[in-house]
Structures are given as C-alpha cells and as structure tokens.
Symmetry: C2
Subunit: 500 residues, 2 copies
C-alpha cells in the first residue's frame, strides 16, 4: 500500500529516545534466596578474600578497612555496605549531543553491539583477523542504527600495533560515531590518552568531563576471585575521572565458576562487590554498572555456550541481585554459533530475553557476535539490530483511546469484508506497524523469482548501502585536525604499551 520504496527503512527513523523496559521481571529465585546469596558473597569476600595484583589497589582496600595479606584482600562487610550506599543508582551517560545521551536508572534500557571480537566476518570477504578498516566500517554501520547506543571496540584491529591501538580506535570512534565511546582499560597510559582525546574532541573542560561519564570501560575480573593489574588500575582511573566502570565478572558455570546458577552467581556477585568497593574507595559516588556475564560450558566439549536455559536463568537471577543492591545492571547475550544461521538467531534472542526479563539496564553483545565473541559478523549485526529495533518498538506504550480502538470501523465493515479501506486504516497505515529492515514477507513464488535470497544476502545489501552513503556527523574540521594531531603526536612519542 505504500508507494515509497525505501532500501533501508529503519535507517531514516527518528531517534528512538530513551528506552524504558516494559517487561515485568522474571524471578527464578525467592527474595530470601537472593538475600542469602548476597550475604554469602559478602562472607566469601571477608573469609576467602580476593587476590588483587595491583599494589595501589591493595593500599586503597587497606585504607578502607580491609585486611591485606600478601596479595590477598579480605573485605570488611561494612566497607562493602558503605560502597554500595555511595555508588549512584542513576546517572547520565553522555554522547556527542543530547539525542545521544543515555540515561541510566530504574527501568532504563540500552543496547551495545558485540565487542572485543578478534575476528571479523562477512559473506563477501569471509572471516579474517580484525583490522582498522573492519573497525571503522563496523562503527559506521552501528552509527546508522539508533538502537545501538554506544560505540564499543566491536572488533580488535590487529593490524595496528598495540601501543597505538587505543589512539586509532578512539580516533575512529570519535570521528565516525556520535555515541558514547568505550575505552579499554589496558593500563593508565592508554586510558589517560583516551580521556584526553574524548575531552578535547567533545570540547569539555576538566570539570565538565568529570561531572558525568562521557565514556565507559568494561572490567572483567579473572574469575575466580582475582583482579589483575590493568583491571584494578582501570577501576581506580575511571572512578577518579568520574567515568563509568562496567564491572563484569565472566563466570562460566562449571569452568571458572561453580556449576550451579546460584553458585556461579555467588562468585560473580562477590567479585563485582569487591570491584565496586574499589571504585568507591578511589572516589565515593563514582558511577558503576553492576555487571554479570554468567553462562555455562558445554560439558562434552568444554566450550562456552550462550543463550542456553542456564544462561537465561543466570541473567534473570543476576537481575534480582542487582535490584537487591539497588544498582543499575549490565547483562549480555551471545551465541556459540559459527554462522549467522537459525542457531545464532535463536541463541542470541534467547539470551536477549534473559536480559530483558531480568530487567537489565544495559544489554551488551546484543548484535553481531558469533562464536561466543571470537568473531563479529557484518550480516548478523544487521539482523540482530532488526530484533533490537523491534524491542525498542515494544518499549512504546499502546495508546488507550476510543480513536485507537476504532469501533466505527467495526460497524463500517460487513461480515466477511476487509478493513483495507476504512478511514481508521487509512489514517494509520503508514505508521501502524513496525517497518522491517531485513525481515521480508514476500510469498514463496515472488521470493524465488527474485533470486531466493536468504536473510544474510539481504543484510549484506543493508550494510553495503550504509557504507556507501556514510553519515555526515557535521564535525568541525578544526576538531578533526586537532584529533589527528593528538594521535600523531602520541604515536611519535611511542604511544602507550598495554599493561598485562
């Protein structure tokens, strides 16, 4: 019925605005059991302790009342309680402009595409180690989709030397994305470079930068019960700069964590509490996201699995723990599939629902991941984004009005007739329904005649179309020159080697 044929309908939508999760939480645990897991995690930190490899972090813990023995830190339950009281329950993540700011707080919802993949893959060029070109392309593709609300390190650009990588990645993010950039915590040198670049490019004074988070990092503990040097330093540096740490133990049940959902969440919760405590000791009130990523291994192969029933239950249970401690919560989906096929789709959506029904404020790895994060697929990025945009549509409340109900149209159409031409339909048909990006409704014969394209081919057209018409972000050319100059200068100075 529409006359205008658009190649990529989702691409000319208006910004979606802040999303609120409309789904009631699914609670696999009783409230008593959630409280018990929290208490046990606090006791684990007090009695078993956590190994902290950075001297500076141990000194902060000690000053905060923890007992330190060699590299082991045993936390005082009161110190943990105090940290939880100091960490903010809501804040505003800032992008390039107001329509790219992301409010974080009760019922808020954001999506981050898959991040950290060593490999990139697409239907036309195959699977290869990630490169700077892949990273730039993927940032540009993500920029075209409003529902992806931050610019993470989607793929690892392995062709850039490690000491310069943070510079080039941040340069690409700022140049090609208006969204909240994500910075790796691979050592103070790199982190401070990235803060400088973001502050200058966004035109922020020190005070304005520190007043709100303008970027975030993901802190993975080394489960079980260990915090390494770059992660501990990242927690301190981000907290002191007022920037956001997303604290995410990666606890695979049966491998780095106990084999049960409750056991793995107890460990994950303990590690997150320790890291949150460190941020609040470095700077009370520093923004944090309580993060979990608890899934299971496949017991025959020992490989990680995602989008499983256990992953789903762990997400929902972690959501209960997040609400118990009153902090915003980051969760994640994923898939072990090697192809963007039905397995990849099912697992990714299953994992996504675990996050949504757990009440996640941020769903990471929500688009593009394959192989449990070892590759990012251009086509899957597009296809998964279709699903996320559908979720964003479900965040819009239904209108409850007589006009919407349209009883007149019921009277207008005779038994056995149709509603195509009622005024109620004509008034609404352009906007009544979600307009799909790559999901098609052609009948079999028409589809066969048009070449029997599967969704991967249609998704290929979409991302190629985006790259051939890149968005003009309207950057000031002096700003871009300044950014280049900074990168060149720091490259000339040798950059900053990653810490390990």
């Amino acid at each position: 019925m529409r006359s205008r044929r658009r190649s990529s309908p989702a691409l000319d939508t208006k910004p979606l605005g802040p999303l609120k999760n409309p789904f009631p939480p699914y609670c696999p645990f009783s409230e008593d059991w959630v409280a018990h897991i929290h208490e046990q995690a606090v006791i684990v930190l007090r009695d078993l302790g956590i190994r902290v490899l950075l001297d500076e972090a141990r000194a902060l813990f000690k000053a905060g009342g923890a007992r330190v023995e060699e590299d082991m830190v045993f936390l005082d339950p009161d110190g943990v309680r105090e940290a939880l009281a100091n960490a903010p329950s809501s804040f505003m993540l800032k992008g390039a402009g107001p329509d790219r700011h992301v409010p974080i707080g009760p019922r808020s919802l954001m999506f981050q595409p898959g991040a950290g993949a060593p490999n990139a893959t697409d239907l036309t060029r195959g699977r290869r180690p990630g490169s700077a070109q892949d990273f730039r392309e993927l940032v540009q593709i993500c920029e075209a989709f409003d529902v992806l609300q931050s610019a993470p390190p989607i793929v690892e650009p392995q062709d850039i030397p490690p000491a310069f990588r943070h510079l080039d990645m941040t340069d690409i993010m700022l140049r090609h994305s208006s969204k909240v950039p994500v910075v790796y915590a691979r050592g103070r040198g790199q982190v401070l470079d990235c803060f400088d670049m973001i502050r200058c490019f966004r035109g922020l004074e020190e005070g304005a930068f520190a007043a709100d988070p303008h970027c975030y990092t993901v802190i993975n503990t080394n489960s079980p019960r260990q915090l390494d040097v770059p992660m501990a330093q990242g927690l301190i540096d981000f907290a002191r700069a007022g920037q956001l740490s997303v604290i995410t133990p990666f606890t695979l049940m049966g491998a780095m964590a106990p084999i049960t959902v409750a056991g793995a969440l107890t460990l994950s919760h303990a590690e997150a509490l320790a890291a949150i405590t460190l941020t609040q000791l470095a700077k009370p009130g520093a923004p944090v996201l309580y993060g979990t990523f608890t899934s299971n291994v496949h017991m025959r192969s020992g490989s990680p699995a995602f989008g499983t029933p256990e992953h789903f239950q762990a997400s929902a249970g972690a959501g209960q723990l997040a609400r118990h401690i009153g902090l915003p919560w980051r969760s994640a989906t994923g898939t072990a599939a090697n192809l963007s096929d039905a397995q990849g789709a099912h697992e990714t959506q299953m994992g996504l629902w675990g996050c949504l029904m757990g009440g996640a404020n941020a769903v990471f790895h929500a688009a593009g991941w394959l192989e449990g994060g070892l590759s990012v697929s251009y086509e899957k990025l597009v296809t998964d984004t279709e699903v996320l945009t559908m979720m964003a549509q479900l965040c819009q409340p239904l209108e409850e009005s007589p006009a919407n109900l349209g009883l007149d149209s019921l009277a207008e159409v005779s038994p056995g007739g149709h509603f195509f031409e009622t005024q109620h339909t004509l008034d609404r048909y352009r906007t009544a329904f979600y307009e799909p990006l790559v999901f098609e409704t052609q009948n079999f014969e028409a589809w066969e005649e048009a070449g029997s394209q599967d969704i991967r081919s249609r998704a290929t057209r979409v991302w190629q179309d985006i790259l051939s018409h890149p968005k003009d972000l309207g950057h000031d050319s002096a700003k871009l020159d300044e950014l280049s100059a900074f990168t060149s200068k720091r490259r000339g100075e040798g950059g900053a080697e990653p810490l390990s």
Copy 2:
C-alpha cells in the same frame, strides 16, 4: 567431559511432565482498558451481530435468547455471560496414556507443532505439495519429541482424495502417535468418523469418551463477524461429544480486522465470545480454549507478517482478555520467512515469547512453520523444537539449597583456578545443563574441519535418524487391524465429502 556420544541427545530424555509457565505476564493494556475491550466486544455482538451460516446454529442461538434476523445473530449480553460461566476453566486433554495426558488450567503450558500447511519442504527433497508420506513422517518426527504435546494435521496430504483424507489422517495419527489427536471440522460426516476411530482405537466406551476431551479441533471464524457452516457445525458436534473446540479468530490487523491492536482484539474477542456461546448452548460445560491469532499485514505487500512487535503485543493483550474472562487460552507464533534462516528463527521465537509472556496455555504453530503456514519445514521443526525444549527446561524450578549453592567449592578453588574437578562439579556435570539437540558449541576451526555444517544440515541428520529408527508404540495388532478395517469400510462407502 562426557564419554558417551549420542547422536540425538534430546531423544532419550524422560517425559517432561506437565509444564507450568514460570514467566510473569506482560500486560500492554491497563486492567480498565481490558475490561472496556471486553464490554465493547459484547456490545458489538449485541448491536452489530455476527453472521451465522448454519441454520442449526442460528436456532440454538435463538433458543438461547439471541435475536436472529435472516442470517444475522445479535447476542444477548446475559447469554454471553452465562456461557462464560458455564465453560470450564480447567480440564484434562487425554492422549494414549497418562504420560500423554495434558492438563489445561491456570499456568498450564502446552506446545503444538505447526499445522495445516499445504506444502512440505526439506533440504534433501525440496518443497512440494504435502503428501500422505510427508504427513506420516512428520507425525513420526513429532512423536520423538516430548515437548510437542499433540498430533495435529501438520501438513495437508493432498494426494489423498478429500472424502477419504480425514480417515487416512486419523489412521496415521493414531498409528504413529501417542499424543492427543487433532481433527478438522470439515463437516459432521468426517467429524463423526474421526470420533469413532479415536474412541475404538483408544478402547473407550461412549461415556468415557464424552467424559474428557480425547481430541480437539480448531475453529477459525471468517473474520470479520462470520461463522461458516463447517465451523458452526464443528462447534456443535465437538461440544455435544464433550470434545475440545479451540476457537481461534484469525484477525490480521489492517486486513480482516481493524489496524490497531486494541481494535483487532475487540473483533477477535467478539467472535470468540459468539463461538464460545454456541458451544455452551449446544452443551453447557463443554470444554473450549479461548483462542486468538492476531498479527499484522505488511502494509507494502499486504502479506501477513508474524513475530512482529504488533503480533507480540496482540498476544500479550489477548492473554489479558483470557484472564479477564477466566478461560484457558490458545495463542500462536509464526514466521513469514521462506527459509529456515535467521529471520525464521527470530520471528518464531519473538512470537513464542509473546505467547509465553501473555500466559498462553497452548502455543500453536510452535515448530516447523514457514511462509506464514504455507509450508512446513522438516529442519525447522527440529530446530524450533530445540527452543521449545529449552523453554520446558525453564519451567523447572531452580533448587534453593546449600548443596546446590556449593560454597565449599568456592573455598576449594584458588584465585584464578577452575572448577572442572571440584566435587560439586563432578556430582552434577551429567545433568547440570540442558543438553542441546542441534545447537553446537564447536569452535570455528573444528567446525570448519568437520565440513562447516549449518544448523539445517544438522537438523536433517536428526529427522532422518528419527525416521530410520521409528518408535515402537506397542500397539495391539488387533487394534491396528480394526483401524484398517474401519478405514477400508468407510472408504468403500465413499468416505465423507468435506463441507464448505
């Protein structure tokens, strides 16, 4: 870690037992708005009426207090209320034996594979008009999966003459499935034949057959506001025989129904109420499932779409209406995809979640459907069933005990260590996690070396394996002979032509 390699792990599981939906309902409408939609639907039936093409049905409506003018029936609101009070809120659907009985009632959950497809398709033989062989094979495949709890007419066996089709289909269902059979309401002659076959094969006296539903039919109204001859007759015949009518207006928003979710549900609800009223006039207390299937058309092509945000909202809203009238509820998922690809997976799972979060007691078309039901895919049947089995796993509550929590294992493993060999893991690794049927976790290199099989190839192996080792259902040979004799006799008598 497992030594035993099974080709089809899900196939040797124990029966899952009755499923209870663990998810809290998502309510897109306020309670007031739900009550308003219900009231408006009652008023639609009173003032606009419904066209009923069967004399016998109009006579029943008239005797029950409705106003009848030519073929239009205008229902008395009190009559509708009385019917709702008489329809049971729970009952037991009976299969071949106790482990195949399906309790229907508050929070109960059952899955039915896709039904009614004119075409069958698989990777090895391609797409073709459905045949008796396809139907038999699909019934056998479904029999292997406990999570599929009834035996519907999955595909239309177009190579059987219409007057004999009901005989051969029921023969195949009874011979190759232990589950609740589904019967088409294509006229009294066919229906009574099928009742006879089921009663005799299950060894039931008239009274025992009538005491519980031993089969069901799906009644689609001809939206908007029309009930045709075979459907009306089916409602009467199933009610009088104590068998189950699943009353399902198929209301595509913007086509056979108003373009808004609330408008389409008002129409769907009105039609369902009229049909429910007819069953209760035919026999008070007859079992019914309040059914809905409300999705949208794609406004550019006019084709039906499934698994869309609007389909999801309509399912969740219909669930609210079902709870408002206190009846068990049948919903459905689906996809418009032409292939068992990522679109097919995403749409089917999205639609499934709409049903689950709406609180559906029966999810129809939950596995195998492609092309909005115009074909059934052997591979998709297997893949979707994997997801349903995961859902069944999520219906099992998590154990809340110190042993399950496993704090000892946390103490046992040093920082940075692993849990593979703790006693807590060793005690549980065989059963801790859902064991997938076709979802694989092989890493990319191993997967590539093994031939880069996508999930459709793996699913092909599964269904071929099932067909090459068909289950022995332990039927008495005299019963099978009796079944054959009945079919031959009725074929000799000319069968029964379908009513239209």
